[in-house]
């Protein structure tokens, strides 16, 4: 199979970006990405745009807003969607573009402009990402789904609310070191534990943020990557899997089967296992999701996720550093941008450019991006060599 590398990365500031529209957010990320690669748009063959929701940004053609504003037409560009995993769906689609031979250089962008609507409306839009017919009549929300996973996990494995809060403490610590993060401030365990309940047992600091933001990566074929880039980051393994719409229909309520399957496929393609990973970004839309991800990705045994964070093994210097960019929790979670932002962070780590958050001599990195409450999951593995 053809090899594909990331040869450029760009990341806009995440946060409540009341100063900018969707297309302006994209421009920031694309400009930074092209500058990083030392290329102009003229040299890019094709583009993929990841946007999760139409209802946040008042337009049914977000991809057209993007190629219009950056002046990319008449070249190919279309929008892909996979709920909160949209950014990774875009990356996978960009990879397909090159492997198929349709293009040599592909720009992959992810964006979401979520704060144009009030928080209660954003909550409702996201709540419908569960089953709008059979679950929503019971007032379900995104935190509600993960709260049900948390209660099942706590009952089965003795995971505690303190362990959940420890994930928040870690991710806020690293978010405080990331200039692109929405909440660049630390939280104490006590503050996290005493914050108000959003969906029992999840509290405010167990939840990720509602965020505006964009990120971009430039992908290139092997030949182009070697000619263009001194430090290409190779996409070595890709996995994508799906699961039932409703929690009650799942094989397990304490793991995400889609993530387990996606991880299996990505590890197999890369020819490595979980112990080979030096640094990972995982989908911590809620603290329980990070604990479940440790287990689904094989960083620890099933049921041991709470103890892994308690032993601080997912800090820099620990067995497997996770979300040392602040994660969705503190960096923010602009749905369509998140998967691309994860790829940017892992590229920085493998290029040795992560500053105070750098994992020493990181060679192999992993991203894990989940859509909805586990209806789709994508795992990507990146290598320096």
């Amino acid at each position: 199979m053809k090899k594909v590398a990331i040869v450029g990365i760009g990341h806009g500031k995440f946060g409540i970006r009341s100063d900018a529209s969707l297309r302006e957010l994209i421009f920031e990320a694309v400009k930074a990405c092209l500058d990083d690669a030392g290329l102009s748009l003229k040299e890019v063959d094709s583009m993929v745009t990841g946007v999760a929701g139409d209802e946040f940004s008042f337009g049914i053609q977000p991809s057209a807003q993007v190629h219009d504003y950056i002046g990319f037409y008449p070249k190919p560009n279309f929008r892909v969607e996979g709920a909160c995993a949209t950014g990774s769906v875009a990356l996978r689609t960009g990879w397909m573009n090159i492997v198929s031979g349709l293009a040599d250089i592909v720009l992959v962008v992810g964006v979401e402009k979520m704060t144009e609507v009030p928080t209660s409306v954003a909550t409702e839009i996201m709540g419908r990402a569960g089953d709008a017919i059979w679950e929503y009549p019971f007032g379900t929300t995104f935190p509600g789904y993960y709260a049900m996973i948390a209660n099942a996990h706590m009952a089965a494995y003795g995971t505690t609310e303190e362990q959940l809060a420890m994930v928040a403490v870690k991710n806020h610590y690293y978010g405080s070191l990331n200039p692109y993060a929405q909440m660049q401030k630390e939280v104490t365990l006590e503050k996290a534990m005493t914050s108000f309940t959003v969906a029992y047992p999840l509290k405010l600091f167990d939840c990720s943020l509602i965020t505006d933001g964009a990120a971009a990566v430039l992908l290139a074929s092997e030949e182009k990557a070697k000619a263009l880039s001194k430090k290409p980051v190779w996409l070595a393994g890709l996995g994508c899997a799906t699961d039932a719409m409703r929690l009650g229909d799942r094989k397990s309520m304490t793991s995400l089967e889609a993530s387990r399957e996606a991880a299996k496929a990505a590890y197999k393609m890369a020819g490595i296992g979980p112990s080979d990973i030096n640094v990972a970004t995982v989908h911590d839309c809620f603290t329980i999701a990070e604990i479940v991800a440790y287990e689904d990705l094989g960083f620890c045994e099933k049921g041991e996720g709470g103890r892994l964070i308690e032993a601080k093994e997912t800090y820099v210097g620990g067995r497997i550093p996770v979300n040392v960019d602040g994660g969705l929790k503190s960096k923010g979670h602009p749905l369509g941008a998140t998967g691309v932002s994860m790829a940017v962070e892992i590229s920085k780590q493998l290029r040795g450019e992560a500053g105070p958050r750098q994992v020493k001599n990181a060679q192999i990195g992993l991203t894990h991006n989940v859509g909805g409450s586990g209806q789709i999951s994508l795992v990507h593995i990146f290598r320096r060599e």
Binding site: S120, T123, I133, G139, T141, A152, Y200
Partner: protein
């Protein structure tokens, strides 16, 4: 009985009989006439054998609680509005929800109106029943047995 009285938003489906059954006090599922696969929530089409001849069947109502939560920040449709009376406030006490399994692959979601969240435990035995709300909407409640 319109299906929307249960689903709130969606009104056009092949399984709208579900809402009528619920109004008549029964929680019903569909069973594929070809391969016998049973579906709850009911489906008009069988994803096991790709046939579409189904028959309706009442579900057992008792099962063990798979999981639960209590949502304190509700979506817009359920949100509490500020009262119009000056100097007054409303106290919002949300109702827990949960999922019980009444048979293999047959999960029923429902409200748990009569229990303190601290007393709800995964694995406890519960019973599901249809419930007509004061505004005429119809839903499902779970209570311990």
């Amino acid at each position: 009985m319109e299906f929307k009285n249960f689903s709130l938003f969606i009104n056009q489906t092949k399984v709208n009989r579900f809402a009528e059954d619920l109004a008549n006090g029964k929680i019903t599922s569909t069973v594929c006439k070809h391969c016998g696969t049973q579906y709850y929530p009911p489906r008009a089409d069988c994803s096991s054998c790709m046939q579409s001849e189904m028959e309706w069947k009442e579900l057992p109502t008792q099962g063990n609680l798979l999981t639960f939560t209590r949502i304190h920040v509700p979506p817009e449709h359920f949100a509490v509005r500020q009262p119009l009376m000056p100097f007054s406030s409303v106290q919002f006490e949300p109702c827990p929800i949960g999922i019980i399994e009444v048979g293999k692959g047959l999960p029923i979601m429902g409200w748990i109106p009569k229990m303190d969240i601290k007393k709800i435990k995964v694995g406890m035995r519960m019973k599901a029943s249809p419930f007509v709300l004061p505004d005429g909407k119809i839903t499902i409640v779970l209570e311990p047995v």
